[in-house]
Symmetry: C2
């Protein structure tokens, strides 16, 4: 009997060429599918909630797949972690309904971006944060972020999306929190276009260092033109933090606001 | 005119074979001396406050050296960081008296050890923490730590030290703090024997998981025998956090207790 599963993954994206499987290249999906094939005794296809780019990390990526055998969560996690490389870990598993699809069933996604503001970049943070030498103008960045909230056409903030694909998304919140010398930007939306999180951060970075004015985020948004946005922020600072499905959004699960954005880095 | 310098360094020890220069091998001292030779126009010898082992990190290693030319701190840092690899950064520089020696002049050293207590190891912490699957018994570890305070013969906790070399050190404090799923052990002493910090932690780990009783730290200490101590804890969890010299111990500098033990990881 086929059983469907929902699997939560953490990874250090530094040494992966992103999520999506590609021949001869080390990807997260590729590593996971190889491990699943060994457990399942044959090819197993999985889907990921977010197709993270090369170098992007995850604290709460979600994958869905089916296995012929039924596994308890404990045994599935132990078996997978015995096969997966150390930079990719399965941290939670649960049975899911047959129709569950990690990407299509997702309601909300939270991405986190870390910026280290310090004269010299700390070596132990270099894989996990973008470095700027001078503190950014947080007020200007917050003003700019407010223009991006709500249901908006994010065409200016996407890269390489198929023409004709819808580019409207609902941005629920963009929080900016500074602690010690790290600025954390957390974006929650019902979906992110290709490179959108990094292009939003890239634009906020240009506003934070004074190269653009806060209200330019509004004109960039209204332009609906990929050439209008700021540079794409580097992948190393980005984390897919959490994917929320109906049952744990306003239901029994933890409200998104209560999830510590950086527990694993504290 | 020769000028002596005190340089503060941070490094990710993962890809270094420790501090001490060795032919054909990538070491912190080796990388620093190559960079200094390029600045100085000839060989420059430097000393490190702590000869950290392979894989051990630093948040506040101190090196001393002399250069023929006088540099401002800003220019020296910028020039060095332009030559050093990204996993080794010079974060502070100041002129020093001719007799200053990073190791011999040091009064106190603080080492920090991170233990992640979590069913599955977080990939983004895997280079910077030792992982245990179950929470350790913090009370037992604290009781055990108290026996190690004061002026004591740490012969049981050293590895490969020359016979006849003094093994008495003053352990000022051993603090254990748990936050989220990371246990931080911070040891302050007037000096650490070879592998001492990792052997103290190794013994506390065996006490924390119940394999040894808390008072065994006392019998191990009294045995003055290298075979008596617990296993050596893995290098990846250890950080040389700070080296204190006379002027900044009870003088003008920040009191040690006020230094955030983990600012760079927060």
């Amino acid at each position: 009997m086929t059983q469907r599963y929902k699997l939560t993954l953490e990874y250090d994206g530094t040494d992966f060429h992103g999520w999506q499987v590609q021949p001869e290249i080390r990807t997260v999906q590729g590593e996971l599918e190889s491990a699943l094939a060994r457990l399942g005794g044959g090819p197993v296809r999985c889907e990921g909630a977010g197709r993270t780019d090369a170098g992007v990390h995850a604290l709460g990526q979600v994958a869905s797949f089916s296995l012929e055998r039924t596994w308890t969560a404990e045994r599935l996690l132990a078996a997978l972690n015995g096969l997966l490389p150390a930079d990719l870990r399965a941290v939670a598993a649960e049975p899911a309904l047959p129709a569950f699809h990690a990407r299509h069933s997702a309601r909300w996604k939270a991405y986190l971006y870390l910026i280290e503001e310090r004269p010299v970049a700390t070596p132990i943070r270099r894989r996990y944060a973008h470095h700027v030498q001078r503190p950014l103008d947080l007020d200007a960045m917050r003003s700019a972020a407010r223009w991006l909230l709500g249901i908006q056409d994010f065409a200016s903030f996407c890269a390489g999306e198929d023409p004709g694909k819808p580019t409207v998304r609902e941005m629920v919140s963009i929080e900016l929190v500074r602690r010690d010398s790290v600025l954390r930007i957390r974006m929650v939306a019902n979906g992110f276009l290709r490179a959108m999180a990094r292009r939003v951060v890239g634009t906020l970075l240009e506003i934070g260092c004074g190269r653009l004015r806060p209200e330019s985020s509004r004109s960039i948004l209204l332009a609906r033109d990929r050439a209008a946005a700021g540079a794409t922020a580097p992948a190393r600072g980005l984390f897919l933090e959490r994917v929320v499905y109906d049952a744990d959004w306003r239901g029994a699960g933890t409200p998104l606001a209560e999830v510590s954005p950086l527990a694993p880095l504290d």
